[in-house]
Symmetry: C2
Subunit: 492 residues, 2 copies
């Protein structure tokens, strides 16, 4: 009986958290410009309710009366999640939780305006306040020998520590820098697309893709957003994408990427029950699903067989003649300003830079006033290019405006996980390349259901990946894949 | 200090109620088909929170400690609204409030499906449950000599009683039936449009209209819905419309109608403060704004001067040659199945029928199982036509599916109010027709701001109209307007 009361309580909390997610989706895709003031109040009010529900004193009472011996893993997970959320909520003052939610809604609008106006100074005061609030939150929640940054990262990757992710990223960095140097030394230049890519044609092609990757349109939709994202759960999982008339790959690969997220959310069994056990394992695992769809499958030579004819059908002459050249155009390696448009070799270098900068902001080693110059210096050092405009630099990502500190490293972790999972999948599924080349992905999807989606949140994320592959995740699987792929393309 | 605590509390409640409104908007315009199960949980969870906030025992404590003597009318209104909502919430069990919200979200989807399938039987069980829940709610709230129906109607038209609205409707009915008979006797047939009215052209014309009526696109948007409505407040007021390729007037006049609602919401001073004093006065007053825009202005001979050239520009040859003929086509009087497409002479006869049927359902004088035949009999009696399909009959309106009982009569009340307000406005503004014929509505809009919008909820609705016109509202102003207009058009 206590368990039923607890479960009913946390399901309603999940329902309200989903509402908050929908408000964010609406803000980024539908809301009119003058709706921002009220929306901040909406977000603050919902957060106040969520906070009070998570800190409800009946939660520990219910839990203390539950005999967990006879319960299944789902029930145990639900109890553990409620316990954890209770512990966190108890430490964070309600006023602070509400202030964070309201400030995020406001700061996001200010970020979008500052980005359009190419002015970091316009955004700096809002970011300063956000860093201040997140530092307060982390300080209130900090336990044991966790750093402020560890405390925040735990929201996105439960159990992950700065020391562990730093080690993984260092291994990855070494391999990537080496591969990049060999590619640069090759002197080879990849073909690029030339043609006419009107927005409506890009969207028509984009809309044809999610289904191939297992997305169910009856349980979702796709809209345009400044910064593509996926939002929702179970029977209502919404994708967003964007369109750049000069570069159709941005739209197409953003779409495939977000589809990977969406297919995960749509396929967690029991997701519409609102129980925490039936939600995603971590943001790192989430990102493994999106990146595998986008890269290991979407940017493969096999998928080029399928995608190239679609490009020709939608855009006519696109300036490349062969499937090999199309595949090379898809996998052009070069320094670029924008993380989300980056190739697989540079992508994680973008993340490492954000990881170091945001850690310094949260730990008090970098002031917001110095962030733009710190960004530009680091970018020059890592990418050999001078940032030409804030929208191509420090203002490119939405994350910090809405308080997502500790989130960026989960992107790289997701890449490592994707590398591990895909290597195992290749061994497990005979004729995988042939399936990919025909756009027939039901077997790899079933593999993902069985090894990832079906488990919801019922295993710790690192354990989930280890159980799927038979070993602890590291950088080597991803590096082997990248070395083989780009070694072949660039002949290095 | 007590007042500030109370105000902060009720503003957050308003914020959450606005969120609930946004969820409904999303459900009707954006949500994918499989999102319904979770959405019902979302609605139930929000309603549970709203109920608990409205019934918060601190509310009467705060109020008892406030010295109201020095407070302004806005503060007094806020206190009275909180007191009233507290009294209501205290009487309605939380379980019932949540069950109603969840059932509304489900029943709306079932209504839409049953409507598409032309099967009242598919919808009847959900409607039976809704009537059952609303009867329980009304019984729990009933006070003094109010009927169950009075109790529900009070949510939409505070203070209105069945006896009073029945008297107004009886006066109106007498005049309308007489006018209709004279029109029928005239034997005159109005011209009708003939042409090609593609959906995208209709929407292009529709999008050009709201601005003329004072709508601010920066604080709103327009989408397609099965049943047009307006949703939101202050800086975020969203319109919906629909498109019927065979009848462009449906789209155009639905748009103008909803714009009238939207302009009201956008122009209540302080609406974005979330304080109840700065919200609309009643649904009757709301409807007066939409109907005046749609009919007294939008279907006038003067506005035909403005709209006819727009029609020709958007659709080319539309089968009428003169402004007079266009005006006659706009004002074609004939029995039709659908309330929202009805002419001004028949419209209130549609309402009277719903008023009688829904009152019988709530008071226990009619069973849901007998509703379809009761509808069809009454329709035949009042309109002289046999209903040919449920979507043209008992399934045409969304209202009952979402529990809106007691709402329909506010439409007729709004028509009476529009008649009263427009008669006064005509006397007050010199050259009004000329302004309307040029689409220059700033003076009538200012008149509406001053006499209606500016007062928010700070006057009882009937008082608001009386203060604007100098006398109690009745049916005569509307009947005089209709007799003059259709007398002219039909020569009767």
């Amino acid at each position: 009986m206590s368990y039923e009361l607890l479960l009913d309580h946390i399901k309603k909390t999940t329902a309200l958290a989903q509402v908050s997610g929908l408000l964010s989706w609406d803000q980024e895709t539908q809301m009119p410009p003058k709706g921002g003031t009220q929306r901040a109040e909406h977000m603050g009010a919902i957060e106040g309710v969520l906070h009070a529900r998570r800190a409800d004193p009946r939660i520990p009472e219910w839990i203390s009366r539950i005999d967990q011996d006879g319960l299944d893993i789902a029930a145990k997970t639900n109890i553990a999640e409620a316990q954890k959320a209770f512990g966190t909520a108890l430490k964070v003052p309600a006023d602070l939780a509400e202030a964070l939610a309201k400030h995020a809604a406001k700061a996001q609008g200010l970020w979008a305006k500052a980005r359009a106006a190419q002015s970091f100074a316009d955004f700096a005061p809002a970011l300063r306040e956000m860093v201040n609030l997140k530092r307060q939150e982390a300080a209130a929640r900090q336990t044991g020998n966790s750093s402020l940054y560890d405390t925040l990262m735990d929201d996105y990757e439960p159990g992950m520590k700065t020391s562990e992710i730093s080690g993984l990223l260092a291994d990855l960095r070494e391999g990537l820098v080496d591969l990049r140097a060999r590619i640069a030394d090759s002197g080879k230049v990849m073909p690029t697309l030339k043609g006419d890519f009107p927005a409506d044609r890009q969207m028509a092609l984009a809309r044809a893709l999610p289904e191939i990757f297992g997305y169910d349109w009856e349980a979702g939709r796709m809209d345009i957003a400044v910064h593509p994202f996926c939002s929702g759960n179970g029977g209502d999982v919404r994708l967003t994408t964007r369109v750049d008339a000069s570069n159709p790959f941005d739209c197409i690969y953003s779409t495939i990427h977000e589809t990977g997220h969406g297919v995960y959310e749509q396929n967690i069994p029991g997701a519409d029950s609102l129980a925490p056990a039936h939600s995603y394992a971590s943001m790192g695992v989430h990102e493994s699903q999106s990146r595998m769809m986008e890269n290991q499958i979407g940017r493969s030579r096999a998928f080029a067989e399928y995608l190239f004819p679609m490009f020709k059908a939608h855009f006519g002459d696109i300036g490349v003649e062969t499937t090999d050249d199309f595949h090379r155009a898809v996998n052009n390696v070069r320094s670029s300003y924008i993380r989300t448009e980056s190739d697989e070799v540079h992508y994680n270098l973008h993340i490492m830079m954000r990881f170091d900068l945001e850690r310094a902001l949260i730990e008090g080693d970098l002031e917001v006033d110095d962030l733009e110059s710190a960004w530009n210096e680091r970018f020059k050092a890592d990418f050999g290019v001078t940032v030409d405009a804030p929208a191509n630099g420090v203002l490119q990502d939405v994350h910090w405006s809405v308080g997502l500190f500790g989130y960026f490293p989960t992107y790289s972790l997701g890449n490592l996980y994707a590398g591990e999972l895909f290597a195992k999948m290749q061994g497990d599924i005979k004729g995988l390349d042939d399936m990919i080349s025909r756009g027939k992905l039901s077997e790899p999807l079933e593999w993902l259901h069985r090894n990832v989606h079906d488990h919801g949140r019922m295993k710790p994320p690192a354990q989930l990946i280890e159980d799927a592959t038979g070993h602890k995740a590291g950088a080597s699987a991803l590096l082997e894949y990248l070395n083989a792929k780009f070694g072949d393309i660039y002949g290095v």
